[in-house]
């Protein structure tokens, strides 16, 4: 067979989702032989902006690094500052941080499962999951007044308390959510539409996962038992019993199962935290002076390990603030998963790491011999690859 050298630029434009990215695929026949990532289309210079704003203003900036995991970023940011100041966060605030973080994990994983279902053409599941995700967003609205960007964290604690009336409502909503998660697990394990598209697709061996620096559910779906909540505990995670979910099959199905079971685990964590939440204040006073120093803060965001580095020069503004989000950590592993796979599996493997982007609507094909370019819509692609 004479391999036809075709390069497919995948992305970067997508009007709906943030963090657009571009992947240049080199294919032989239907097989992917090379992948080159090109990111930064949504680079906003936030690290430079951090250096130009005060520590207080930066809380708002950190909240806006990401729309889906905004709480993970502010938790990481406030922890870095609290460590610099030597502040001890009140116990009740620590529990509230856990509750919010786990609610965020549920809504983020639910969003992702919906997207995955959509990518493989299983739109019924997509609509079911996104409808149920509203339950969690309603809880957020009840607690903070906002469905996203809940702005719960501040330096020294949290901004809003959870009243006993709210606790009852949250528990009721969680019970509903728990039923739904059980149902999704059943569907995922038995539905042919999913199994056909997810089993043995996008393999990432444990050795590669570690060496390429994969994080979060992507890493745990390759059987590696690492979770910042356990390995480097923060907030109240060292007081709450829970399991780290891993799966050994290293494929897309493992990634779906890990996230489904993590949703279940998150519900358990929230139930426990609501029950054992100590009484007391939710915020301590913060000193006016920020000393010189540096700290490294880590959080298990829904997509994996999130790390912030802070260097303070003793003024009201940071000298350097560095953010590394989980998606960047997973890109080298993603490239490894795609190698040797089929073009038809690109969307599901890409979506498999739960990136903060999706460039699936539009692909441009370039034939090197004739330099002819054309664009296929997602519908055409789906028709071609799924015989719809």
């Amino acid at each position: 067979m004479n391999p036809c050298p075709i390069k497919i630029p995948f992305g970067p434009q997508h009007p709906a989702l943030k963090e657009p990215e571009n992947f240049l695929f080199e294919i032989e026949g239907e097989r992917i032989v090379d992948v080159k990532p090109r990111i930064g289309y949504n680079h906003r210079g936030i690290e430079k902006a951090f250096e130009c704003k005060t520590y207080i203003q930066n809380i708002y900036l950190a909240e806006r690094i990401c729309g889906i995991c905004s709480d993970a970023h502010t938790t990481c940011y406030t922890q870095a500052i609290e460590e610099l100041l030597g502040l001890e966060v009140p116990p009740r605030a620590k529990y509230i941080r856990v509750i919010i973080a786990e609610l965020e994990r549920i809504q983020s994983h639910a969003l992702w499962i919906g997207l995955v279902a959509h990518e493989i053409g299983f739109d019924t599941l997509f609509m079911y999951v996104w409808r149920d995700r509203e339950t969690v967003l309603d809880i957020f609205e009840r607690i903070s007044g906002n469905r996203i960007h809940y702005a719960m964290n501040t330096i020294g604690g949290v901004r809003r308390d959870i009243s006993s009336a709210m606790v009852l409502e949250i528990k009721k909503s969680l019970n509903h959510m728990e039923e739904r998660v059980k149902y999704y697990l059943d569907v995922v394990k038995s539905e042919r539409t999913i199994l056909k598209r997810a089993v043995d697709i996008g393999i990432l061996e444990p050795k590669d996962a570690v060496n390429l620096g994969a994080v979060g559910p992507t890493l745990r779906a390759s059987g590696v038992n690492h979770d910042v909540r356990v390995d480097d505990p923060y907030a109240a995670y060292d007081e709450i019993p829970f399991n780290v979910i891993t799966h050994e099959d290293c494929d897309v199905l493992s990634r779906i199962l890990v996230r489904c079971e993590e949703m279940h685990e998150s519900i358990e964590i929230i139930h426990y935290a609501l029950g054992y939440m100590p009484d007391g204040i939710i915020k301590t006073e913060i000193p006016m002076n920020f000393p010189e120093g540096e700290t490294v803060s880590r959080v298990e965001a829904p997509r994996g390990e999130l790390i912030h580095y802070l260097k303070s020069n003793g003024t009201r503004k940071p000298e350097r603030y560095k953010v590394r989000s989980p998606t960047l950590g997973n890109i080298p592993a993603l490239c490894r998963m795609l190698l040797g796979g089929f073009v038809a599996d690109i969307p599901i493997v890409l979506a498999g790491i739960d990136p903060c982007f999706s460039c699936m609507d539009r692909m441009a094909f370039i034939d090197i011999k004739t330099d002819e370019k054309w664009v296929w819509t997602m519908q055409q692609l789906r028709r071609k690859f799924t015989n719809e």
């Binding site: 930064g40 902006a49 130009c52 390429l212 690492h226 390995d231 480097d232 580095y309 590394r324």
Partner: protein, 163 residues
């Protein structure tokens, strides 16, 4: 803190006086300052002997005349060790570690983009985050570039070309 102290002890005996300074600011955090020349040996030792298998990220910090490069490596996902040294702005060359830890490949490109550190031996240092039209030699996270200057640059130069 026992584990942290043991790691520091083993690192000290391996690197000798090439380990300039080391501190344990708190549980599960180690800051170690090394000479640039021993970077590859140190990373190799940490990854393959002390089992710091995971690279969390690489940070670059502009210190004025010099740039500090910080490698954040994690032991069993838990203890985070920051391996750090400085390079001059005139000759910001650092050997790559991508052949030891493949996960460093994008982090090195990121530091190259924003602070102009050249990672010798890196397979591909083309722009990762910055646009292709970005002017050569302008590294936005260096302190000499003020925010206003960068704003003007992006809106005029890059904007025109892109249109």
């Amino acid at each position: 803190m026992e584990k942290e102290k043991e790691i520091v002890k083993r690192l000290k005996s391996f690197l000798g006086e090439n380990l300039v300074k080391v501190t344990i600011p708190r549980e599960r955090r180690i800051f170690s300052y090394i000479r640039k020349e021993v970077l590859r040996e140190a990373v190799n030792y940490l990854v393959n002997v002390l089992r710091f298998k995971h690279i969390s990220t690489i940070t670059g910090v502009d210190l004025g005349g010099e740039i500090e490069v910080i490698y954040h490596l994690a032991y069993e996902g838990s203890i985070l060790l920051s391996l750090r040294f400085t390079v001059s702005k005139e000759k910001p060359n650092v050997p790559t570690i991508t052949d030891i830890v493949s996960g460093a490949v994008l982090y090195e490109r990121e530091v190259h983009d924003f602070l102009g550190v050249k990672f010798d031996g890196h397979p591909d240092l083309s722009p990762l985050m910055l646009p292709e039209e970005w002017p050569q030699g302008v590294y936005p996270l260096r302190k000499e570039h003020k925010l206003e200057e960068l704003k003007e640059m992006t809106s005029k130069k890059v904007g025109e070309k892109m249109l």
